[in-house]
Symmetry: C2
Subunit: 518 residues, 2 copies
Amino acid sequence: MHLTQCLQRSLQQTPDKLVTLFGTRRHTYRQFGARVTRLAGALQGLGMAAGDRVGMLALNSDRYLEYMMGVWWGGGVLNPVNTRWSAAEIVYSLDDCDTRILLVDEQFLPLVEELRARAKRAPLFVYAGEGPAPVGLLSYEQLIAEATPVADAGRGYDDLACIMYTGGTTGFPKGVMQSHQNLWAACMPRTMDMPPIPGGVLLQVAPLFHVAGLARALIQFFAGECHALLPTFEAEEVLRIIERERVTETLLVPTMILGVLAHPRFADYDLSSLKRLTYGASPSAGAMVEQVIAALPGIELSHSYGLTEACPTVSSNLPDGHTEAARRSGRSRSVGRGGFGVLVKVVDEQGLEVPRGAVGEVIVRGPNVMQGYWNKPEESAKALRDGWLYTGDGAYMDDDGYLFIVDRLKDMIVSGGENIYSAEVENVIARHPAVALCAVIGVPHEQWGEAVHAVVVRKPGVALSEAEVRAHCREFIAGYKCPKSVEFRSELPLSGAGKILKKDLREPFWAGRQRAVN
Amino acid sequence: MHLTQCLQRSLQQTPDKLVTLFGTRRHTYRQFGARVTRLAGALQGLGMAAGDRVGMLALNSDRYLEYMMGVWWGGGVLNPVNTRWSAAEIVYSLDDCDTRILLVDEQFLPLVEELRARAKRAPLFVYAGEGPAPVGLLSYEQLIAEATPVADAGRGYDDLACIMYTGGTTGFPKGVMQSHQNLWAACMPRTMDMPPIPGGVLLQVAPLFHVAGLARALIQFFAGECHALLPTFEAEEVLRIIERERVTETLLVPTMILGVLAHPRFADYDLSSLKRLTYGASPSAGAMVEQVIAALPGIELSHSYGLTEACPTVSSNLPDGHTEAARRSGRSRSVGRGGFGVLVKVVDEQGLEVPRGAVGEVIVRGPNVMQGYWNKPEESAKALRDGWLYTGDGAYMDDDGYLFIVDRLKDMIVSGGENIYSAEVENVIARHPAVALCAVIGVPHEQWGEAVHAVVVRKPGVALSEAEVRAHCREFIAGYKCPKSVEFRSELPLSGAGKILKKDLREPFWAGRQRAVN
């Protein structure tokens, strides 16, 4: 149960098979293995000891996969940095888990000085982009060229493999501790239910810093197959690479899928190689599913539901939940059933299972469930109770074990596949001197599923514009977390106990819909 | 990583699906679950505490699968008794791991009194056969009827799941300690590479006390599919059940396959449902493979190599290693490649990997490798070195990682799929007062692969016949371990160090063959 075992196996059995396709660069497993074992040696040379964190702040590339395997091979722990975060958030997460080495690509060079200046203990920066390294940064390629390959450090099982930061209800990002076994076990259900197509090519365009992208990459490694990578989502690039690399399968969020389908040159590309499409982060993708099936007849659709704390997959709705009958019966709206090894229950506030059809909180148990939050025992104890992970998602289960997400018990917004905790945004807005009270909710949005909406009460006699609120937010948090719209009111609806009644705030936006999440 | 998790999942998702077909008896997962949770309660009522061993001495039946799941559900550990062993061997193994409860079916009732009398601490006997329990034995059906169902005891991960006895080079059976995680991980490669056919039916005719049968049953449970069971191998029964239950897949040893193919009524049965055939325990099944393909065109063949200590699978040669091209190139003679999560190497006497094509010992590492031998630290330390399991099998690996078994480094005979340690048989023969010296070797046998052959030097002036040697052996060891033939000589070839040169003894029998094992 070492995550490098799959690479060792491919090196033994299929060394001449292609593993990464990135732009015009293509590597076989043998070449990839040579780079990984040298990278592991180089990182050890830079001081990476067993269990030390190494970050990467970069868009998708073949080097991202080398980073994953190289850090593990050398005995380190990943800290894949959310590329959409503000400098403040990144610094918090690097400091929080004491990341000693940070790989950055050309996209994020502009952040380096700020990160260096603000970090409590600045990491070593390694330039892992294209072309020569800028002055003052170590060069990834030079490190690899000069390093001696090392043997696999042999970490596995309960050893930490990755710390992945996720937004926090308290306003601070939390580092989710994922062991080798957690990630191994989390990839198993999908590997069993829909093993990668032999000889196929996976398109990696969902960001690899997300657990969904990282886990899907791992599944491809488990099967010893090939990855084609795009640095970032651009609809026509997706069409182009599917045709060029004969991509057989990919994982996209609904926003990306809609972008691809709507592209004016959609019909100009040969997409006949594409057999499977997995989508996530969308309990209400009904219309999208119909569009996909109309545009790509015969494609196998699957929908996964998960969270970083479950590393990530909790349940999957497989192709048999997307048939015409399933779409008619409404089953295709389900996020599917618990995968092998994963126990899923819907419980009431006492933690007791509710009858089928009744709404409760989704709880999860299994070897895929995280070890806890880094250095946050209280938050860990809240999330993990009696061996069960409390997801904060409201759902019901039908008689066949299909899960239907209906609400979010945690105060969270999902916009374009990103989780945004209302509390985090509220904390930032509240810091503005002109704000008396505020609440942040998700409102339906055609493209993003939900959009962040702020309701603000100004302090008496003080001026504050929507643009000022948004500019203030952008200083502290990632752009995608900033309110897309701001509404000013003279008061907020409060409960008897003085709690803001978000339900009342949300109601007019969601009227006439079956769910209060999208 | 609890082996009962798959049952919990089926109970949640597919309670009305059939899980066991035995004779005219058929149970759904709901019925099976009700019996399992009551059986667990009954066993606890009989004193089974967490980690306690419960044995079963019975032919295959639906109750054998209930036993597996029921003991695990209740927190116990399996000790599946080899049904071909002598009373002396069974008593040794029951005493060795202190098995407190033993389930027996009608076939083994005649042994009960002897086991009770000879055991150091006799177990409780539970009659798990058909019809009412004989006087003096507890009744399995009555226990289930009267018990209260209990909740899953929740054992898993490194907790012991099973102690499986295997012949020992020292002459004493060794209890292989298999944890929940070991069995879980051992089933993964196969579950990934050849997931059970959805809606399919597995025929369980290979004995469930063997790790190969038990693991294959587990894989079927992992996938939530159905088992059809035959108590014992009989060629026409196999044909009949395939037709009647629309069996889709089965695991057989070559001896069984040849028996089925050669049956005079083979052509009278509709075998069109059978899609897959897995065979094991045979590095030289070339002719058999051709016969299967001629008789069952289009069938998917796979060959697995493993050992009890690896729980069991080490490598598999999948259908793509059985194509016409693979048969022409000789690749179909391979036992395949290491499965996912299992590292396999061929090493020299220093434990260093040999070049591809060179012969060495097969060593194995992974979460599937046993925890060790029960109460035998010295034997455990010999088998497990630096995290690697030394198999005692000689093999070479080709450039694509395919393993070819060429010799057995341990002094072991494989006859009809059963492992027989020469030392065990030699120890028994040597106890006969008329024997001066003896050696036991495997010789080629058309039906059984290998047959046990004894070479005996009599004490001067003492008479001893072949029949006497065989009768003497039958007193102490299972019939399949007794010599099929006995040869008397005046001396044995000895090395300079006085060691019997078994290679010289074997040579004339194996002349003209590529391997010295079958």
